[in-house]
C-alpha cells in the first residue's frame, strides 16, 4: 500500500558563500527573462544585491495574457502581475519601475540611469526585449492607432474598445489574430488586413493557416489578405487595393524589433539581436543576455536563432541566473510557444525558420492534428492542435536528439 500523508515544506534556499559570486547583479528589463532571473538568483541563495531595472511603469507582468483573456475581458486584473509588489522587497530585489538605462559601461562595469545615477555590477543581464514595429504610412500616429506590448497598451486598447465599434487589425500573425479574437469577444466588428495569402502561413503552413482563418471567420472576423494598409484616417483606413474600410480603432501587429540600442552603444556583438554563446554570455565579460533580445546557437539546426516567445524567455532567464552564479549551464531548451484562438489552442515545439516540407497527421479542419516542419531532410518543429500529449512527446524527441 502507498500512503501520502502531508506536504513537504518548501525547500529553503541554500546560502551561497559570497566569495566567488558577483558582488552585485544588475538586470536591465522587467519582462519574462529579467523577472525570472531575479527570482532564480534568490531561489539559488544568491545573498548580495539584485537590482531589477524596468523601463515599464507596471510590475513585470504575464505578457501572453495581454493579448488573450485579459484583452478579451475574461481574466481578472490581478492575474496579470507575475508577483505581488511585496514579493520584490521581501526577497531583497530592488525593483525600479519606469527606470531607463541610458548607457552601459562595460570596462567600468557600471550602468548609467537616465537621472545620471551610476550602478555598479559584478554581473549584468540584458533582457531589454523588443518593441512593436510601427506603420510608416499617413495617419500611423493618430491616437486611435494602437500597438500591443505592455499592460498600458492593453489597458488603452480595452478603453478604446469600450467606445469603439469597428476595428481594423493590421497583421495576421500572433498578436493580430489574438487581438481579433479578443475584440470579437468584446463585440466589435473586426477586419484583419495582411499581405500574406493565409494567416500565420509562414510559421504554421497552409493547412493550419486555413484552419485559423476558418475559426476566425466563424466568429465573424473579415479577412483582407494579399493587401496592406496604405493610409489611416480618423474613421477609416484605405488599403493598397484601394478599398476603404470603416475603422474607429486600428491595432497594428506587424512584428517587433529587438531593443539592442544599449548593447550596440556599449560595443557588444550584435546581429539582429544580442549575440550570445550557449551559456547566454555576450561578447563582453560578465554581461549576459536573455529573452527576445538574445540570439543564441541552436544545436538542432547549427544556426544562431532569436525566438520571441514567452517560455523561451523564461527558460533563458533561469539559465542566465545560474550562469551568473558561476555555473556553466548550456541553454538548449527546445523552443515552445502556444497561440490561442477562441477555444482552440495551437502548440508548437522546435523552431523552423525555414521549411521545405511539411507532414500532416490528422485533420486540421477538425482541430485535431500534428504538423511537422522539415528542412533539408531534418525535422525542425511540430505544431499540434488538440494533441497536447503529442506536443510534449515531440519536445522530448527533440531533446533526445540533442542527447539530453
Amino acid at each position: 500500500m502507498a500512503f501520502v500523508c502531508e506536504p513537504l515544506s518548501a525547500a529553503v534556499p541554500p546560502t551561497l558563500a559570497a566569495a566567488h559570486l558577483p558582488a552585485s547583479i544588475v538586470i536591465i528589463g522587467g519582462g519574462a527573462s529579467g523577472n525570472i532571473a531575479a527570482e532564480t538568483l534568490r531561489q539559488e541563495g544568491y545573498p548580495s544585491a539584485i537590482t531589477l531595472l524596468s523601463a515599464d511603469a507596471s510590475l513585470p507582468c504575464d505578457r501572453p495574457n495581454l493579448s488573450k483573456d485579459y484583452l478579451a475581458g475574461t481574466a481578472q486584473a490581478d492575474w496579470i502581475p507575475l508577483r505581488s509588489p511585496e514579493f520584490y522587497s521581501q526577497h531583497g530585489i530592488d525593483l525600479r519601475l519606469a527606470t531607463r538605462v541610458m548607457a552601459i559601461e562595460p570596462t567600468a562595469q557600471t550602468v548609467v540611469l537616465s537621472d545620471g545615477t551610476r550602478l555598479s555590477y559584478g554581473a549584468l543581464l540584458l533582457a531589454t526585449g523588443a518593441e512593436p514595429i510601427r506603420l510608416n504610412i499617413p495617419g500611423a500616429s493618430l491616437p486611435h492607432v494602437h500597438v500591443l506590448r505592455t499592460l498600458a497598451d492593453s489597458d488603452a486598447l480595452i478603453a478604446s474598445a469600450a467606445a469603439g465599434r469597428q476595428c481594423v487589425v493590421v497583421g495576421a500573425s500572433f498578436i493580430g489574430l489574438e487581438v481579433a479574437a479578443a475584440l470579437r469577444n468584446r463585440g466589435l466588428e473586426v477586419d484583419v488586413v495582411a499581405p500574406e495569402e493565409r494567416p500565420m502561413e509562414r510559421v504554421l503552413g497552409a493547412a493550419i493557416g486555413d484552419m485559423v482563418r476558418a475559426i476566425h471567420e466563424r466568429h465573424g472576423v473579415r479577412f483582407h489578405l494579399g493587401a496592406t494598409v496604405a493610409a489611416i484616417a480618423e474613421r477609416s483606413v484605405t488599403l493598397s487595393t484601394g478599398e476603404q474600410l470603416d475603422a474607429d480603432l486600428v491595432v497594428v501587429g506587424i512584428g517587433v524589433r529587438a531593443s539592442t540600442g544599449l548593447a550596440e552603444t556599449a560595443g557588444l556583438r550584435i546581429d539582429r539581436g544580442i549575440v550570445v554563446n550557449e551559456f547566454l554570455q555576450t561578447s563582453a565579460p560578465n554581461i549576459y543576455a536573455a529573452g527576445d533580445i538574445a540570439r543564441w546557437p541552436d544545436r538542432l539546426t547549427g544556426q544562431h536563432i532569436r525566438v520571441e516567445h514567452w517560455v523561451v524567455a523564461e527558460r533563458q532567464g533561469q539559465i542566465a541566473a545560474h550562469n551568473m552564479l558561476g555555473r556553466l549551464r548550456r541553454f538548449d531548451a527546445i523552443p515552445f510557444f502556444w497561440s490561442q484562438h477562441y477555444d482552440t489552442t495551437i502548440a508548437y515545439v522546435g523552431h523552423a525558420e525555414q521549411w521545405d516540407r511539411l507532414e500532416i497527421d490528422g485533420d486540421p479542419a477538425a482541430h485535431d492534428c500534428a504538423v511537422s516542419f522539415w528542412h533539408d531532410g531534418q525535422k525542425l518543429a511540430v505544431a499540434t492542435v488538440g494533441r497536447d500529449l503529442d506536443s510534449l512527446r515531440a519536445e522530448l524527441e527533440f531533446e533526445q536528439k540533442l542527447g539530453r
Binding site: 500500500m1 502507498a2 500512503f3 501520502v4 525570472i36 523564461e314 506536443s391 510534449l392
Partner: protein, 90 residues
Amino acid sequence: MSEESSAGGPDFRQGVLLDRLADGQMLLGHVAGEPALLVRRVEGLFAVGAACTHYGGPLVEGLLVDDTVRCPWHHACFSLRTGAALRPRR
C-alpha cells in the same frame, strides 16, 4: 483560466494498493482535499500537487520524463521529488 483538477479520485491518506499503479503511471486523487498526483517510477513513489502552478493545467494529462512531470498546457516541468518548477512557471 485558473481551472484546477477536480478533487476527485482516492484519498491518498487512506492508502492506495500498489498494484493499482504501474511504473510510469499517474493516479489522480487528493490529500486532505488538495488534488494530488501519485506517481510510481522505478526509483520509487512520488506525490505532487495535481495542478500546474502556471494556469492550473492538469498534470495527470501530461508527460512523465524520468523524475519529472510536464504540463500539457504550456510545458512547465516539475520535479516529482520536490514539486519544484524546474522550468517555468513558479
